[in-house]
């Protein structure tokens, strides 16, 4: 068996490999279920039902998928040019801080102003937080994987501090119980983001923004000079320099863009869902890290990010809904892990071709001189 690098990847493989990975993951988890004494088919049917088909299921799936989609886009935007921003987690926290701060400050203003301010506040806070490692990378060539990862912990501690360890603007100090049991201030009514009630499902406001963001990201990479520069820099830094591209500026811009998307994810988590800065809840979800998984599965394609986010969101929700004595609680985690495992394994098939065949027989009289030594060592 030999593994050869592919020069070109056929188009059908790009779709076939992820699909086959999904089937393989389902089959592998099916085996686990059989061993555990459950019927795989009925388990999967229930997952599908609770994730997407049951009344209200699609709505809660979209709610779950919404921040995931944005952190997925954040990761895809940076990874596409080989800028490994794994700090979407922290950038999302800062986005939540920014959005909730603006939402609280704009109390009493018209909803349009309030919501626009929150979107802007979240995106800017996330961008600012990502630009720090971006600058370090551009000017001091620090490893952005490490700096962004470390800043995630800083951001986590920061939001905990805002609510639990200080009397900050975000903390609710109005009642006795909230002074004893710390919690964030609830956003005023005009800062709650609207939803769109369709016949089939309720679509959160931010989900719409995201589809726009995905399209804009796609256009950015394909149709703008800046996106072109990012593509060149990701492919060959020396060609980028040769072409007169200001590589530092591109790195900082892309980190900012990636951080803005993650920050928007934090804003949506506040505006659409929580309406309060909730450090524990945010940190439990690990949305930023999940976004990396989403981006990897989507192969950094913005539209595929949307599809994958909804799929994973549905899976997560179905898992919550089905948890109980009948349904193993770790199953959904196992299934998600398996899908990722198979999908990343499938990448190998996209980039390499595996051929089977007999190896050419080596001439018999080789190693004439080396024979004594070789015999000794083997």
């Amino acid at each position: 068996m030999r593994i050869e690098r592919r020069l070109t990847t056929p188009r059908w493989l790009v779709v076939a490999v992820p699909a086959a990975s999904l089937v393989a993951a389902l089959a592998a988890v099916g085996g686990v279920l059989l061993v555990a004494g459950k019927d795989p088919m009925s388990t999967y049917a229930r997952l599908l039902d609770r994730g997407f088909l049951a009344p209200g299921a699609l709505t809660s799936t979209l709610v779950t998928a919404t921040p995931l989609l944005l952190t997925g886009l954040a990761a895809a935007a940076a990874f596409r040019m080989r800028l490994w921003n794994i700090g979407a987690e922290g950038q999302l926290y800062l986005g939540a801080v920014g959005a909730s701060g603006v939402g609280l400050a704009l109390h009493g203003r018209p909803a349009v102003v309030s919501i626009a301010g929150m979107i802007l506040g979240g995106a800017l806070a996330g961008a600012a937080y990502a630009i720090v490692p971006g600058l370090l990378r551009a000017y001091f060539n620090t490893n952005e994987i490490i700096t962004t990862l470390m800043l995630n912990y800083v951001a986590g501690l920061f939001i905990t501090y805002l609510i639990f360890d200080s009397q900050s603007y975000w903390r609710d100090l109005s009642t006795f119980s909230s002074r004893v049991f710390p919690q964030g201030k609830l956003l005023p009514g005009d800062a709650l983001w609207p939803t769109f009630n369709l016949e089939l499902t309720v679509v959160p406001f931010c989900f719409v923004i995201e589809l726009v963001a995905a399209a804009m990201l796609w256009l950015y990479y394909g149709s703008t000079s800046l996106g072109f520069e990012a593509r060149v820099l990701g492919d060959s830094p020396s060609a980028a320099r040769y072409a007169g591209i200001k590589t530092r500026r591109v790195v900082v811009t892309m980190m900012g863009l990636s951080g803005a998307l993650a920050g928007l994810g934090g804003a949506s988590e506040i505006g659409d869902f929580r309406h309060v800065l909730d450090p524990r809840g945010l940190q439990q979800l690990g949305l930023g890290y999940a976004g990396i998984v989403v981006a990897a599965l989507a192969r950094y394609n913005p539209f595929a990010v949307a599809i994958v986010a909804v799929l994973l969101g549905g899976l997560t929700n179905a898992g919550y809904a089905l948890q109980g004595p009948e349904f193993p609680s770790g199953l959904v985690g196992v299934l998600q892990g398996m899908i990722l495992f198979f999908a990343l394994g499938g990448e190998l098939l996209l980039r390499y071709r595996i051929t089977f065949g007999m190896r050419q027989a080596a001439p018999p009289q080789g190693l004439a001189v080396a024979a004594p030594g070789a015999a000794h060592h083997r």
């Binding site: 020069l7 070109t8 394909g222 149709s223 703008t224 000079s225 800046l226 072109f228 520069e229 593509r231 060149v232 492919d235 060959s236 020396s238 060609a239 980028a240 320099r241 040769y242 072409a243 007169g244 591209i245 200001k246 080596a362 001439p363 009289q365 080789g366 190693l367 004439a368 001189v369 080396a370 030594g373 070789a374 060592h377």
Partner: protein, 511 residues
């Protein structure tokens, strides 16, 4: 060549070695002998096949035809390990050391005798230390590789070979990264090792150093054996002639130019720049280039040519000096400024630098114009115009590609170079800096590239042609500037230059 019948058996005997790579005959029935206890230099220009021959001896490549004997016994190496077990070791131009491990660790790394467990590091360190002292290569066995200078790292490579019992040591361009002082130390070590009965094969294209260190020289040219001579009985002049070849002067494909009254398009005033290792690579080069003129910069590879091209076009910062285009100063280290002043650059590394390899042909054709109208308006790319210009350029420059959307890395070398030329020439340049524009290209593509350069010169573009191919410079250039160790040795009008004279200047002697 007759087999050695009398006298001692040669340490290395390679008989009619032939090695083909796709499209290239790297070695064509080459014979090579090296005796015990001698330093034997393997001389040739880039692409002459000397590294291929050395790699065959070291077990990295297998010859398509021919046989290899080591101390009179026929061998067939399937891997460098086979060669090592037969006593043949190679020190590569770029070291293969683990930077975070110690010297002693690196030396035993991969040695099967060492076993899986590190039983006694001190014993190994003592052995390494003794070996280093005996061979006059002082190095601390406990130091980590990243702490060492390049010269010291090279000593570790050599010690690694000796530790494994190498009797025949091949060094590929060993001085290319060394300072002159380190090179002198290395020569002392090599002489010492030869005096102990080892055989040293010294691959180089620098005449002065192999005159200093070798006993015999074997010259290759274009994959063929030209001859072997005793160093004592030859001269740099003769070696240069053997290496560069042709006694014949080529037919001139270009009329002598009258430069009187032409505008000076490019002027270099004392340009200096550092190489990648932050050692001076270009030292005070002053040169001028007129409209419609082709100035050839000749030199043996690694004498600062690449750095000179980069210092002019801004992809490398200058440490001193000025570059003027049309009388106006170019900013140092700012490629965009050079592009804006219509300085085109055909870089040496065409696939990694000249184009972005995974991007399409169409994208690479707009690599430098992606920010400017008409390709982009207010930051938005105009796909219709990109497609139209790609179609036009692919047609005009006869770029053979399945389509404008084909990733550029899938194109042949000649077509990649045509993409670079199409982009650079269509940008309306005043000056073109071309570095080895035809290296590695086949005859047809070479002709096409040269014709395009001549056409540009005829249209009034000034061309600085930096090339290691003296043929090319003799065929195209109006004036020839020779560089050696980053300095300009001299500038000759082509009419006054002959190959041997230029060859000598390339080896460092004054005009």
């Amino acid at each position: 060549m007759a087999r050695v019948t009398a006298g001692p058996v040669p340490a290395v005997a390679m008989r009619s070695i032939t090695k083909r790579f796709p499209g290239v005959l790297a070695n064509d029935a080459v014979d090579f002998d090296a005796r015990e206890g001698e330093v034997h230099a393997l001389l040739g220009e880039n692409g002459a096949g000397k590294s291929t021959l050395a790699s065959i001896l070291a077990g990295l490549y297998r010859p398509d035809e021919g046989e290899v004997e080591i101390y009179g016994r026929r061998v067939e190496f399937h891997s460098p390990r086979d060669a090592m077990e037969a006593g043949v070791s190679m020190v590569h131009q770029h070291f293969r050391l683990a930077a975070s491990l110690t010297v002693a660790d690196n030396i035993v790394l991969g040695d099967r005798r060492a076993g899986w467990l590190r039983t006694s590091p001190t014993a190994i360190e003592e052995k390494v230390d003794a070996l280093a002292k005996r061979n006059r290569m002082p190095v601390n066995p406990r130091a980590r590789i990243w702490q060492l200078s390049v010269g010291e790292q090279q000593r570790v490579e050599i010690l690694k070979a000796l530790y494994r019992g190498a009797r025949i040591l091949i060094l590929d361009e060993p001085t290319s990264l060394l300072t002159p002082q380190e090179a002198d130390d290395l020569f002392g070590t090599l002489r010492h090792m030869a005096s102990e009965g080892r055989t040293i094969v010294f691959v180089s294209h620098k005449l002065d150093e192999l005159m200093a260190v070798s006993d015999r020289v074997t010259v290759l040219r274009a994959g063929r054996l030209i001859g072997s001579v005793d160093t004592k009985e030859t001269s740099p002049r003769e070696l240069a002639r053997m290496m560069v070849g042709r006694e014949v002067v080529f037919k001139q494909s270009r009329e002598p130019q009258d430069l009187e009254g032409r505008e000076v398009l490019l002027e270099l005033r004392g340009v200096s720049a550092d190489g990648d290792l932050e050692l001076p690579a270009v030292r005070g080069v002053s040169l001028s280039l007129h409209a419609g003129e082709i100035v050839g910069v000749a030199g043996v590879s690694g004498n600062g040519q690449r750095e000179l091209a980069e210092a002019i076009t801004g992809t490398r910062s200058r440490t001193a000096g000025e570059v003027l285009v049309g009388g106006r100063r170019l900013r140092s280290g700012d490629p965009d400024h050079a592009i804006a002043r219509a300085v085109a650059h055909i870089p040496e590394d065409r696939l990694g630098t000249g184009v972005s390899p995974s991007l399409s042909v169409a994208d690479n054709l707009i690599l430098k114009s992606h920010r400017r109208p008409p390709i982009a308006t207010r930051g938005v790319l105009r796909h219709d115009r990109i497609a139209a210009s790609a179609k036009d350029l692919m047609h005009r420059f006869a770029i053979a590609a399945p389509g404008p959307d084909t990733p550029t890395r899938l194109l042949s070398g000649g077509n990649v170079q045509k993409v670079v030329l199409a982009r650079e020439l269509s940008s309306g340049p005043r000056v073109i800096v071309a570095a080895n524009p035809t290296r590695g290209l086949d005859v047809g593509a070479t002709e096409a590239v040269r014709a395009l350069l001549l056409k540009a010169a005829a249209a009034g573009v000034g061309i600085l042609l930096i090339s290691e191919d003296l043929d090319e410079i003799m065929a195209l250039a109006d004036r020839i500037a020779v560089v050696y160790e980053g300095r300009l040795v001299g500038v000759l009008p082509r009419a006054e230059a002959d190959v041997q004279h230029v060859g000598l200047m390339m080896a460092g002697s004054s005009p």
